[in-house]
């Protein structure tokens, strides 16, 4: 035992073992993803850039101005401007300050009509702070940009209906929320499909 220990010490066995490992690694495939040129797949439900879902029928957002998101937001970065017009609340502007956002997606969960979403888009850095303050127009534009890139025809965010929670706790609109069609044509097709289903 003693002799063996001395031998390993003199012959630098452990250093040669390390060298052998690094040599092996030298000829194995590297794990680098060369980011701007190639991108890794983002998993569904990644909490990225904010967007307001554009309703394919009305072409506008679905926000009803209930202020749930504003209240739940821990960093208080959502501001909703509303106005009472003919006894009806109308949302004039919807502002998210993304530079203050902590990306907890509480707003997405709280929204009773699934109007808001944190998309899987993560490339939206800006040279000025202004670029990170999204108003309604910008949020809808974010959605268009995102939906153009999205591979499927439908989109459904997993935080709209957090799984594992009893659906009876959700409001009706949330409970009945299905995947959002990304284009107008798709919507019609789906309706046809639904009609055909019973027959």
């Amino acid at each position: 035992m003693k002799v063996k220990e001395i031998l390993t010490k003199i012959l630098l066995i452990e250093i040669f073992k390390g060298l052998a490992l690094t040599l092996k690694m030298l000829f194995s495939k590297s794990v680098t993803v060369q980011y701007p040129f190639e991108k890794r797949n983002i998993h569904e439900g990644f909490r990225g850039r904010h967007a307001l879902v554009r309703d394919p029928i009305s072409g506008d957002d679905k926000c009803i101005g209930c202020m749930r998101c504003t209240t739940v937001c821990p960093s208080r970065c959502i501001h909703i401007k509303r106005e009472k017009r003919e006894n009806k609340m109308v949302v004039i502007d919807y502002i998210i300050d993304a530079s203050r956002c902590v990306y907890c997606a509480y707003c997405v969960e709280a929204c009773p009509v699934c109007a808001l979403v944190l998309t899987e888009d993560y490339e939206y850095s800006s040279y000025e702070r202004k670029g990170l303050i999204f108003n309604k127009e910008k949020l809808l534009k974010n959605w268009d940009e995102f939906s153009a890139k999205w591979p499927a025809d439908y989109y459904f965010n997993k935080f709209w209906q957090p799984p594992g929670i009893d659906p009876s706790r959700w409001p009706k609109t949330k409970r009945e929320q299905g995947p959002v069609p990304l284009k107008r044509g798709v919507e019609i097709k789906r309706e046809v499909k639904n009609e055909q289903l019973p027959s």
Partner: protein, 395 residues
Amino acid sequence: MNPENERELLINMGPQHPATHGVLRLVLEVEGEIVKRCTPYIGYLHRGLEKLAEDLTYVQSLPLTDRLDYLSSMVNNVGFCLCVEKLLGINVPERAKFIRTMLSEMARICSHLVWIATHALDIGAMTVFLYAMRDREKLLELFEMVTGARLTVSYPRIGGVRCDVSNEFLKKLERFIDEFPKRVEEYETLIDRNRVWLKRTKGVGVISAEEAINWGLTGPTLRGSGVYYDVRKFFPYDAYDKVEFDVPVGKNGDIYDRYKCRMLEFRQSVRIIKQCIERLPEGPILADNAPKIRMPASPLKIDKEDVQFEIYVDDKSVEDFIKKFTDIYASVEAPRGELGFYIVCDDSAKPYRMRVRAPSFVHTGALPRLCEGGLIADVIANIGSIDIVLGECDR
């Protein structure tokens, strides 16, 4: 500095030093290469999280805890949730407990991987850094898959977890932990028996068991000195009393023993995750009486006065309980040590005062004890071995 002693040199290490793990600033008084005095200055990352929590409801405070120890945000979240659950008397369903345990251990592996990476890099073994990062990337991807974020997960909920894990995730996790022990061996080939590593770590930064307790050290830093203490064993939370695992304990209390403890914890974490996957029960993932984000049918209910309270706690019994002026402490075994949350509550849905017992803060306090009398290079090794994260230390 004492002007009479002209042999001493005052060195300001940090806050932008590459090896101080963030923004720790150390003022070293050195004589040649020997450190005579070492004074840590902290607070460069102070964001007032404890004060912020006083203005947020319990549910809203949860994302704040992500930012404590950002390398293992899952464990912080669990710690906070445990404390609030204790306060509100919520029983977490079995499945949620197992999921929490599983993800906590994933966070522990993640955090220890960053530790081995930076610790080895500080001592000069650059390659270990990238090997560890390679494996951490896989874990972060798993985190992303289930929680929607890589680092600041905000995954647990008061009374359970946020969303369920998928079978695909479990399969991927299983594949990862099957090959992970081999990776740990890889790091060990490079550093564990390497004479340079042994020379740098053995007999350096020694702290005896008694002293370690007196300094308030916890976690692997304490266990390296031979003290058998682990919150997971002594005050079991979540599913830790239902899984089998050992707590590795060192002997000499030097950097090498602390290193060894963490290396063995990798294997124990793998063991725990394996058991969690095997025994993951079916069932709900959120307790029935958990404070939840309630979604009323009428959107104009918002005009009511105590709106925050209305939203988060709609259970009358919980409301009654919270009305009592009480205080509560709960702790978890974070990768760095015992992470405790102490909450004093009044009759609102917000804490009256929240205090975080951060292991990094306590460990930074013991840094002068470890460094003084050693060499400058030992300071770096010591910072690595107590594994501090300044986000947690400064809060």
